[in-house]
Structure formats: C-alpha cells, structure tokens
Amino acid sequence: MTRRSFLRRGTAATGAVAALAASLSPLKEITDTDSFSMSKFLQKHYKEMDGKDMASALERISKEVEKRYDIRPNIRDIKPMDGVEFVYALNLTRCIGCRKCVHACVAENNQSHSPEIQYIRVLEMPRGSLDIEQGNHHYDRPTVPDEDHFYMPIQCHQCANPPCVKVCPVEATWQEPDGITVIDYDWCIGCRYCEAACPYWARRFNFTRPEIPKDKLNTNMSYLSNRPRQKGVMEKCHFCLHRTREGKMPACLEVCPTGARKFGNILDPKSEVRQILESKRVFVLKQEVGTLPRFFYYFDERDPINLKVPTGTEGDRP
C-alpha cells in the first residue's frame, strides 16, 4: 500500500465513522426511564413470573415511579377471583353524555395527559339510528343532554372472542379468567396489530412518553392495570381491575350521575347485571363481527310489565 492510498483510505474511513456517529447523535437525548437496564431486559412474561420475580418487578416499578413522581406507589399484582365473570351494562335511556366517566377513567387509570389518552369515547347519536357511523365524536354543548340526540359511551367490550388477543404476535395481551382482557406493558412490542384488529377502537398506543402531572398520579396501582405506561406500548380499559377484583365498582360507574352504568358478576344469579340481562332487551355493538362482547347496551322500556307477553299466548300461525 502506498502512503498516498493509505492516507486516502484513512480519510475516507474516518469520514464514514464520523458521519455514522453524527447520524446517531439523537440517541444522546434518551431519558433514563427509557434507557436500557438488564433487569427490564430480562424480565419474564407475566404468566411465567413466580412470586419472587413479581416482587422484584414490582420493586423496580415502584422505584421508577418514585424517581419520576417523588411519591412511592402502592403497587400490587391483583389476581382474579374464583367464580367471577364481569360484564357491563349501559342504559342508553339514562346516559346524558356528560363525559364524567371519561375523565374519572383518566384520573383513576393514570392515562397520559399529554398527549391525551382516553379509554372511553362518548358518541352523540341522532335519534332514529344505532349506526355508530352517524355519531358525533366531538360534540361540544354548554349543557347536555340535547333533546334530539341520545348518547352512547364506547370503551373496551372485553370480548369473549377477542380479535386483539388472537393477533398479538408475542402474547402480550390475553383474556383473564374473569373475562378481562389485559396487557403486560413490559412485554408489548408495540406493533399495533391489536389496534388494527379491534372493531370497537378500544385500544390506545403511547406514541410518545406519557406525561402525568405529579399531583394527578393515582398511587393505588396494579401490574396489569393502571401503573404508568412507557412510550411505545398499547393500553386499554381493564374494567378497573385493581378496584373490581376487590369488590369495588369501576371509576366510570362510580362517577356516573344518572346511574346509567351497571357492572357486576354475570355468574352470580342475584347480581344486578344478571337481572338486567334476563329482563331487559339488551344488545351488543357490531354483533356481526362475532366478538361476543361483555358490554351490553339497553334502553328503558316505557312500561316493561305490559310488554311482557303472558305465557301460553299463541303466536300467529301461517
């Protein structure tokens, strides 16, 4: 190799390395919550963790929350109860479209305030149609309800045949024994296939690092529900499992001023939701897609007694 060609090659190689380094320079900006750590990298899938694994994962998450929000959370892994399958029933006659449920949900479940993430979308529907394509997502009225409309809140339907679970390539989302579809935020790879598969637009993606004001953080957390999420992962409604698995009602129900929202265990014959499903004429959204939702809608019947057909009445014969 001549001296000249050595110099030429050296210059070219140095230039190439410098250009590569310059193009990678944005990586310097990485925040420490997003930075690489061996314990995060090696953390197992939720279903493969034993008690010790979970304890150390919860400890790591607590530390991260404490570091970012200056407060130590009470974070647990709450398991489903035996003999429980949760369903939701929503009375469209009573809903007034006040969106209190939307905001109670955000406060309870530590959704990002910037960018804004909400699990519940309330549609303002014209009377005479149940076609959600007709709904107005962005109605903005000084007072609700508007007389010519009714209101239809939509959130995760916790389907018994969930397309989102089927399509996930890494099993980061699954259906729990009590019917709630959950996400392991530490396992999701962020491909958003579940978001494309969901017919109810129930899933949300963290396009950037979620921001929650320090004083707005709910410190009562659980692993599969409302602990703070990272950027690049999916999240969704989980029927407030950290509340409902301990006998409380979901936040959206508690805040509802009209009692339009009903929630409970369908396997319990005395539960209110069981009564509603047995006595009211309930329906589900997009029944034709075959997802078998656990979220039912119904209207109050004007006079349910008179609508009941006496037993033994003969039908018309052809």
């Binding site: 959600i132 790879i189 637009w201 949300r204």
Partner: protein, 425 residues
C-alpha cells in the same frame, strides 16, 4: 474433517473478504452512486434515531390511523421479493433459455427486498428493544403476524442459500450439485407465493376492518406484485446491461414484458371487481372506499393518490398492449409508471383507507411527517445499496474474473468481455 470442509473453512472467509473488498472498487459513477445512497441512508438513520428517542409520535400516525408509510412500504416490498419467482418459474419449470443467466438477479433482488421489509417492520415497532420477545413467546399459529415472521425469514434464508451456493460454486469453478439447490428452488417457488399470501391475510383476516375483510385481497396482492416486481427487474436489468455490459437478451426482456402485461391486466380486473362490489351494493361497509375514491364529509386527502395510481396503471397497461412498447424507452416508461402506480395502490390505496373512518366512524386523516418520510427513503437507499453491492460482486464471479485461483484486477469492471457466464442452473 474431510479435505472439502477444510478448504471451505479456509476459502469461504477469504471469498467473503474479497467480495467485501470488491464492493469498494469501481469507476467514478459507481462511487458517486454509492456515496449518494450512503448519504441518504445516513439521513434515514438519523431520522430513525430521533424516532427511537421520541417515539412514534414523530410520525403522522395516530390511534385512528395506526399504520402508515412503514407498513405500506413493507407490503409493497413483500411483493417485490415474491416477484423473483416470476423469473424462477420460467427458468426452472419451463426451461426458459433467455432468462437463464438472469434469474440470479431476481433472487438477489428478493434478498434485498426482504431486508428492507424487516427494516420497515422494525421501524414500525414501538418497542424494537423487545424484539427478542418474539423468540420467547411466539403466538403461533394463532397470530398471522407470526406466520409472516416465519414466511419472510424463511424466504430470506432460502434465497441466501440458493444465490450464495450458486455464486460460491462459480467462484470455485465447480458445477453446482443439483441436490444442494434444486429442491430449495422448488420450495422457494411455493414460499414466494406464500409470503405475499400470508401478508395479505394479515389484513383480510380482520373482521373489524371491512375494507380489508375481502377474499380478493390476496389474489390482488399477487397480481400487483407480479406486475410491479418484474417491472423493477426489467429496469434493473437494463441498468446492469448498460453499466457492466452483462448480456441481457431482448428476448428475455420480452418474456418479462409478457408476464408484466398479463399480471397488470389481472390486477386491474380484480380492482374493477372490488370497486363494483363496493359501490353497486351501496352497503354501509363501502364507506372507506367512498372516502378513498371520492372523499367523505369534505375530507379527501387520499382521492388524488388513488386516481393518480389508477391513471398510471391504466397508462402502463395501454402502453404495454400497443406495439410501441417494443421500443425500449416506451417499455421503461410503462414499467416506471406501474412501479409508482402499484406503490400508491398498496399504501395510500390499501393500508391507509382501511383506517378511515375509524371503527367508530371518526374521520381522522393521515399525512406522513418529514421524519417518517426520511426514515422510509433511508431504508430504500440502504436496500438499494445492498442490492448494488450484491450485483457488483456477483457479475465478476459469473464472468469468471473473480475466481478462487485468480488475482482480480481491482480496477473498474471492463465492458465487452466475451466470456460466457459460468452460472448454470
């Protein structure tokens, strides 16, 4: 250890090293081409580094339109990769003589296209740092995405093996042993069709997206891929012929032209069938098609795209049917038109409209950001760079200039070499 394996262990790294060295050798045109591609790829890498730090908020995607430019390019490139089979089938099944020495360029194109596919998928992931979760909990066979992972990586390995084996044999002046590659060629034929079919099933399997939930998606994918892919190969072959003097016969181009014409005609027919079903029925599920072709509620971001695509494809089809397409420049223009036309059809015409309106009827439009465009162009530049290198080192081997026992002149590849290619399938 036999002598053969011993010499392989010595020779193979030397072969790779020589190929690596050779990829830095060329005339000024080669250097400026490679320099330009490298610069674009580095801009793309820079844009990706920004996205990696800030998240996918740097793209134009949203919860409503959750897939965009990346998945569109991915889908298109799966088609390009699959289209290599349109050279393989004539050569290995119909014993076509003209395409004989060209089939390897199709297979190398498949390798580069699959690399680009994998990069586009990586760019689309919210958590690329968790890629290994795919190995630890693989939702197979339930998730079609896992089928696609197998299909794409399998296809990459098949083509790497076939090309690598044939080129390495030529380098060693050995006649390739049939049993070491012919079975893989036939597996690759079926596999090529499967990669695009599985990719179509990714979309058509979703009941919640009526625009995709159609049986015609997979056939349409194949038809459009078998038009756009060979069109890219036609243009590539002409560049190879012009820049290296490698023999590309008019008959070979003619065969590819026939394939392109038939595939494009079938694609247009399938498109017509779909448009008819969407609009004549007038059912509610045609609402995305309504948005795509005519706009909805005063929003019509995709309308110019789809009509441009239809115009380009129609022009290409008409041009190919007329005798004028025997002129090389007409053929080139037609090929370029359909390469762009089908690219639009896959992205702005198929991926994006399925998200508009959202499943709850909300209309949120999609417009890629500059950062997202830079990442995409960067991946294309990187893929083309890889393809250039692959072709750059393959041609001297096939010419018999770069051989195991021959010192290769490290100056530019000479034109007008009469040695016939050593590659014999």
């Amino acid at each position: 250890m036999t002598n053969d394996t011993k010499s392989f262990i010595h020779e193979y790294p030397r072969f790779l090293w020589r190929c690596f060295r050779l990829s830095f050798v060329g005339d000024w045109k080669y250097y400026s081409w490679m320099f330009t591609l490298s610069v674009i790829a580095l801009f793309g890498l820079n844009a990706y580094a920004k996205q990696f730090v800030q998240g996918l908020g740097t793209t134009g995607m949203s919860d409503q339109v959750s897939w965009g430019l990346y998945i569109a390019n991915f889908t298109y490139l799966v088609g390009v990769a699959a289209a290599a089979v349109m050279l393989v089938i004539p050569v290995y099944i119909y014993k076509n003589k003209e395409l004989h020495n060209l089939v390897i360029f199709g297979e190398l194109l498949a390798v580069s296209a699959i690399l680009m596919c994998l990069l586009f998928i990586t760019a689309d992931l919210g958590r690329p740092d968790r890629f290994h979760h795919l190995l630890l909990r693989f939702n197979f066979p339930r998730s079609i995405l896992t089928w696609d992972v197998i299909a794409l990586n399998g296809y990459l390995l098949l083509n790497l093996h076939i090309c690598g084996y044939l080129i390495y044999c030529a380098y060693n002046k050995r006649t390739p042993t049939r049993k070491f590659y012919i079975p893989f060629v036939f597996i690759a034929i079926v596999w090529a069709i499967s990669i695009h079919t599985v990719t179509a099933f990714l979309y058509s399997g979703l009941g919640g997206r009526p625009f995709w939930n159609s049986a015609v998606i997979a056939p349409r994918f194949l038809a459009s891929a078998f038009a756009a892919g060979p069109a890219i190969i036609v243009l590539t072959l002409q560049v190879i012929r012009a820049s290296t003097g490698y023999p590309v016969s008019e008959k070979a181009i003619g065969t590819l032209k026939k394939i392109i014409t038939v595939a494009l005609a079938i694609n247009m027919f399938l498109l017509g069938s779909e448009v008819f079903t969407e609009f004549y029925t007038g059912a509610a599920h045609s609402i995305s098609a309504q948005y795509l072709y005519f706009g909805l509620d005063g929003r019509h971001a995709l309308v110019p795209w789809i009509w441009t695509s239809i115009a380009l494809n129609t022009f290409a089809l008409v041009a190919l049917f007329t005798p004028a397409s025997n002129k090389r420049w007409v053929l080139n223009v037609a090929c370029a038109a359909m390469i762009v036309g089908i690219w639009i059809e896959k992205g702005m015409g198929l991926i994006v409209p399925a998200f508009i309106p959202s499943p709850l009827g909300e209309i949120v439009e999609y417009k890629p950001t500059l950062n997202e465009i830079l990442v995409s162009i960067g991946i294309w530049a990187f893929g083309i760079l890889i393809y250039t290198i692959l072709v750059r080192v393959t041609i001297p081997v096939l010419y018999g200039e770069l051989l195991v026992d021959k010192v290769y002149r490290t100056d530019a590849v000479q034109k007008d070499v009469n040695t016939s290619p050593a590659l014999t399938p």
